[in-house]
């Protein structure tokens, strides 16, 4: 899954920009030249793995914050059903493939859909900015008042919290992304209108944050798996490897920022 994620990041955020992934871009991937359907298999596999991972992440978070067994089971079932629904939608889009005409499609008259999707993106961005600002404000307030900052003096605490926050953010965006890609076969013009919103300056910090979140989540997951496999041989590497992951995350996010600001390789 990590390999597929990095290929996807490279294609969409490094070699191109999200706002440039228009219906023509997707048509080239899913169209007649995609002989054996390799890109469609790639995209569908990535969707399946990402949704499965998301359901597993929700399961873990539910275990952490919900005490009652019945509520846990209900939330797990809801997450599973939602994932199945989004997988079905994504599968339908992949199977439908490239439409013949850009202005065709059974949903082409539903102009409220791109407006709702862009509204969702703005809401996700606003929630992200508010959350980050609140966390930084609380931290600064406590430090300036010389209040203890809880367990935040441990690097492991930061690694864990960033992993959780990144996972939740990625899952939220993934669901919106499935909805906008699902527009492609059914209303390409509306899909283009949605994708054009990624060029909005207000969304740029969120998009860079999303790239950083994906890179961090993937690398931190690999880090934890490696430490677990290494057992005693890796026990001294926990803190240095976290620093390495943060440095790599920043380094790999900078090209995406440059692309979003207009630079093209």
């Amino acid at each position: 899954m990590v390999a597929l994620v990095f290929i996807h990041l490279f294609v969409v955020h490094y070699a191109s920009a999200p706002s440039a992934t228009t219906s023509a871009f997707v048509a080239a991937r899913w169209g007649p030249r995609d002989g054996a359907g390799a890109w469609r298999v790639f995209d569908w596999t990535l969707l399946l793995l990402a949704l499965t991972h998301g359901v597993a992440g929700v399961h873990g978070m539910v275990r952490d914050v919900v005490r009652r067994a019945g509520a846990r089971a209900a939330l797990d079932a809801a997450a599973g059903a939602a994932a199945a629904g989004f997988l079905a939608l994504g599968t339908a889009a992949v199977l439908a493939g490239s439409p013949v005409h850009r202005d065709a499609g059974p949903l082409s008259s539903q102009t409220w859909i791109p407006a709702a999707l862009v509204g969702g993106l703005v809401a996700v961005a606003t929630a992200t900015y508010a959350g980050v600002a609140a966390a930084v404000a609380v931290l600064i307030w406590r430090i300036t008042r010389r209040e203890p900052i809880g367990r935040w003096s441990y690097s492991g605490q930061w690694a864990f919290a960033l992993n959780r926050a990144a996972g939740a953010g990625i899952l939220g965006f993934l669901l919106l992304h499935v909805l906008d890609v699902a527009l492609f076969p059914f209303a390409p013009a509306l899909y283009d209108r949605t994708v054009a919103a990624y060029a909005m300056p207000y969304l740029v910090p969120m998009e860079v944050g999303l790239v950083a979140a994906v890179v961090y989540h993937a690398l931190d997951g690999l880090r934890l798996m490696t430490l677990e496999v290494l057992d005693r041989r890796g026990e001294a590497a926990a803190a240095p490897s976290f620093v390495a992951v943060v440095v790599l995350t920043v380094s790999l996010s900078l090209p995406a920022l440059a692309v979003l600001l207009g630079w093209r390789p």
Binding site: R63, D64, P148, R151, Y154, Q157, F160, R232, E235, A239
Partner: protein, 234 residues
């Protein structure tokens, strides 16, 4: 040196408060020494626990400048001032820096932290001690893990313990591993079944605060990881 102590008496106070004391710091003075100085010179009502004063018993574990540690082992001169001193987290405060370790030891007991012989006997009926040569790799597996002094520092540092009440915590799971890894122990499968259940090893998020917080160099996360592998391969 200013030492700020988190004061709280559940019988009197509605919420914890910080109280600052100006301590006449001396070379080699430990945080525990500073607390004694406060107790004897400034405030006889301050409550804290201690015993050996040599880093062996774990009684004086508390949170010092945001990190768990033994007050008798942390030198004032090596700490950035003002020094903050708090009781261990995730445990009920009896008074000031004194916590009730009851919940910690209840979870410890839940893993049957003792050797079980082939006949199901407990330690009192154990056969002759096993002969394990000093260089034997079997010894190497559990050597450090049995150094745990049950101070509660890892339990306090663990964020999962803080949010998931049924999570057994690093110390109990470390102990479960130490006895499960004993080749003479006959309760291994039962132990793995128990630690694989809700509140066990799969609730750990590999945060690793327990490893950093342990004042005697035990690695509870390693024990949890090895128990996980055992539970998966079971």
């Amino acid at each position: 040196m200013i030492v700020r102590v988190r004061r709280y008496d559940p019988a009197v106070d509605r919420r914890p408060r910080w109280q600052a004391y100006a301590v006449e710091a001396r070379p080699m003075m430990s945080v525990l020494d500073a607390l004694f100085w406060i107790l004897e010179s400034l405030d006889p009502t301050l409550a804290f626990r201690y015993s050996c004063r040599a880093g062996m018993c774990g009684s004086c574990a508390m949170v010092i400048n945001g990190r768990e540690g033994l007050a008798c082992q942390r030198r004032l001169e090596r700490l950035r001032g003002p020094v903050s001193v708090e009781p261990l987290r995730s445990l009920p405060v009896t008074k000031d820096l004194l916590v009730d370790l009851g919940p910690f030891f209840e979870k410890y007991r839940a893993v049957d932290p003792f050797y079980v012989g082939e006949t199901g006997s407990l330690i009192g009926a154990a056969p002759e001690p096993a002969v394990v040569p000093p260089g034997d790799p079997v010894r190497g597996v559990i050597n450090r893990q049995i150094d745990c002094i049950s101070c509660g520092a890892c339990y306090s540092a663990c964020p999962v313990v803080g949010i998931v009440p049924e999570f057994l915590g690093p110390a109990a799971l470390n102990r479960a591993y130490a006895v499960a890894a004993d080749t003479r122990d006959s309760a291994g499968l039962e132990r793995l079944r128990r630690v694989a259940a809700d509140g066990g090893v799969f609730g750990c998020h590999s945060v690793g605060n327990c490893v950093t917080a342990c004042p005697v160099g035990v690695n509870p996360l390693l024990s949890i990881q090895l128990l996980r592998k055992g539970a998966v391969h079971r």
